[in-house]
């Protein structure tokens, strides 16, 4: 029972941060049809920025509770700055090119940003344990958990609800759905599609940064952070269906729980299981489990 609860909670926590990152990835793909490899960099930048400033603020004697503000602020700043720059300087000029070439361009950006992190923050790992220490731990069902880790699940739920609300209950959501459905028709109806693209990319980047910023206190923030997370979120997005928020949620639950199960019961297959699921889904349902199959356009 205790093992089961541990697996469940570990899995949920893992799913939560995967979901936050993948939601950004899937929104960008859904609207702009860009498979954004440098999403991993947004994550890494978010993690580094929040870890750095949490450490700095704590040295300056600020109350640790500020850490949460720092997390939110770093996600927004990273998303705004990187997202805006990348979209305006690089991607804007590539929309007419081949889909695959855009993927390659974002891969180039990913490599560049990885090294800019090293230049900006150095190679030593950062530890920003303060927010985690502040929240202490709690005993439930015979096991002790960090409260911080549990709040992660709440944050993910908030992101999910926020996305759902934005897409289904606001004017902005309607515009987004119109652009997703038919970009040209959207332009004809007077939608400022370039603006929608820029805002979407920034929004996705903020989510990527938020995933990194929120997870930072629980890990040692070290080089190579983004490399692992990007393939994992690819797996999530592919399993759930590219471009679907619901899909990202289900995909991250499947991947997160399976991986937690593997870590506890059969550590040898930890990575194998994630990508095996991804491959199987691609083979039998390439459009993902939850994306509706599209009619072929000729």
């Amino acid at each position: 029972m205790e093992t089961f609860l541990t697996i469940l909670l570990d899995g949920l926590q893992f799913s939560s941060y995967l979901f936050i990152v993948s939601a950004g990835l899937t929104i960008i793909f859904g609207v702009m049809k860009i498979l954004n490899v440098c999403h991993g960099s947004f994550y890494a930048w978010g993690a580094y920025t929040s870890a750095f400033f949490i450490g700095k603020f704590s040295e300056m004697g600020m109350p640790d509770g500020w850490g949460f503000l720092v997390i939110l602020a770093s996600a927004i700043v990273v998303g705004l700055v990187l997202g805006f720059l990348i979209e305006q300087v690089i991607l804007k000029h590539m929309y007419h090119r081949d889909e695959v070439l855009i993927v390659l361009a974002t891969f180039g950006l990913f490599l560049v940003l990885e090294d800019v992190i090293l230049i900006a923050f150095g190679t030593d790992p950062y530890f920003a344990y303060q927010p985690m220490a502040l929240l202490d731990s709690v005993e439930m069902g015979g096991i002790v958990r960090d409260v911080y880790g549990l709040t992660l699940i709440g944050v993910a739920a908030m992101v999910a609800i926020g996305c759902w609300f934005l897409l289904n209950k606001t004017k902005w959501g309607t515009i987004l759905k119109a652009v997703i459905f038919d970009r040209e028709m959207g332009i004809a109806m007077g939608i400022n599609v370039p603006l929608v693209y820029t805002l979407t990319f920034i929004g996705g980047a903020i989510l990527g940064g938020l995933g990194g910023a929120y997870i930072a206190p629980t890990i040692s923030v070290a080089p190579g952070l983004g490399t692992e997370v990007i393939v994992l979120s690819f797996a999530v997005v592919v399993v759930g269906g590219m471009g679907s928020i619901m899909g990202a949620a289900i995909g991250s639950l499947i991947i997160g729980l399976l991986r937690a199960l593997a870590v506890h019961e059969l550590p040898q297959v930890e990575l194998f299981v994630v990508f095996a699921v991804m491959a199987v889904v691609l083979v039998f349902r390439p459009e993902g489990l939850f994306a509706p199959a599209k009619p072929r356009k000729i």
Binding site: L35, I90, H93, D98, E99, V100, L101, V103, L104, A105, F107, G108, L109, F110, L111, V112, L113, E114, D115, V116, L118, I119, T123, T227, V231, F234, A235, V238, P267, Q268, V269, E270, L271, F272, V273, V274, F275, A276, M278, A279, L282, V283, P286
Partner: protein, 311 residues
């Protein structure tokens, strides 16, 4: 087979490079070995790239070839360079043939992603399996050639150059056959190709298997010239990215391009590590973006341009 200009250049260039290697210092020979080994994989990716397919997972076949060499060496004590190469290329080719049945139905990013998934499955298995060397990998003994254990790396270099030469000639020959000529048409319009009476699926399957054999051979040669294998430098998705990078850098214009591209890559890497060890990825990424933006035909298009101005 040696009638067109490309074949002549490959043939003569190969012989000149072998002769040059005899007098060249060790580090240059090493660079050439790494470059030519990797170029084999790029040859395969070039064929796919001309068809409009980019695989973000060919490190699967690269790693399969490399690990076959490691297993042959450590478990079975096979030292002969040709047996090892044959083993690596065959296993990768077999895997490519089997995976190809699925892969031939995929295009665009789905093709790229399914390849990534498959390569990461292998990565996941090897990283977590002690008997396969886990994250440390294996050291590989220097291969013997026709039963003779060479003193220096020069004989291995000759073997690699000859293999590279032969592969380039074969791929060049293939591109001139009817099936080979179906590369660009498939990218442009599959339905028309089908109307002409050819099976697109079969053509892509053949190309995919070819690229797998070449990538496997490349991995096997790379493992032998490096003297070691490990998952992060052989199978991780970043390796696949590197291979794609060199393909774009070389340009799809000609079978000679991969060799030039790979050498440029090796030189870039060596100097980047020496001058600015932390800037390596920045330089690669920056070059990548520059090429995509300003030189869509890769280095080869520069050579073509230069040649035209002269004549």
């Amino acid at each position: 087979m040696l009638r067109d200009n490309t074949s002549k250049v490959v043939f003569i260039g190969g012989i000149l490079i072998i002769a040059f290697g005899f007098f060249a210092p060790n580090w240059i020979v090493n660079q050439l070995m790494f470059g030519f080994s990797r170029a084999l994989a790029i040859l395969g990716l070039l064929v796919l790239w001309r068809t409009g397919l980019v695989s973000f997972g060919h490190a699967f076949y690269f790693g399969l070839g490399a690990y076959t060499v490691a297993i042959l060496d450590i478990q079975l004590g096979v030292t002969d360079v040709f047996l090892r190469l044959f083993g690596g290329a065959c296993l990768a080719g077999l895997a490519g043939f089997l995976v190809g049945f699925i892969m031939r139905n995929y295009r665009d990013i789905f093709f790229a992603m399914l390849n990534t998934a498959i390569s990461m499955v292998l990565y996941g298995i090897i990283v977590k399996t002690e008997s396969l060397g886990s994250t440390d990998g294996f050291a590989i003994s220097l291969p013997t050639i026709f039963g003779v254990a060479p003193e220096t790396k020069y004989p291995l270099f000759v073997v690699i150059t000859v293999i590279a030469m032969v592969s380039a000639l074969l791929v060049n020959f293939y591109l001139k056959t009817t099936v080979g000529r179906l590369t660009t048409p498939i990218r442009d319009n599959e339905i028309r190709v089908e109307y002409l009476g050819f099976s697109v699926a079969h053509a892509i399957h053949l190309k995919y298997t070819m690229s797998a054999i070449l990538a496997g051979g490349a991995g096997a040669l790379m493992a032998m010239s490096l003297g070691q294998v490990d998952p992060d430098s052989m199978i991780n998705w970043t390796v696949s990215g590197e291979l794609v990078f060199i393909t774009i850098l070389s340009g799809p214009g000609n079978v000679i391009a991969p060799f030039i591209g790979s050498l440029v890559f090796e030189v870039l890497r060596t100097y980047a590590f020496e001058l600015a060890p932390h800037l390596w990825q920045l330089i690669v990424g920056g070059t990548f973006l520059t090429i995509i933006f300003f030189l869509p035909g890769g280095i080869w298009s520069l050579i073509v341009k230069f040649g035209r101005n002269k004549s």
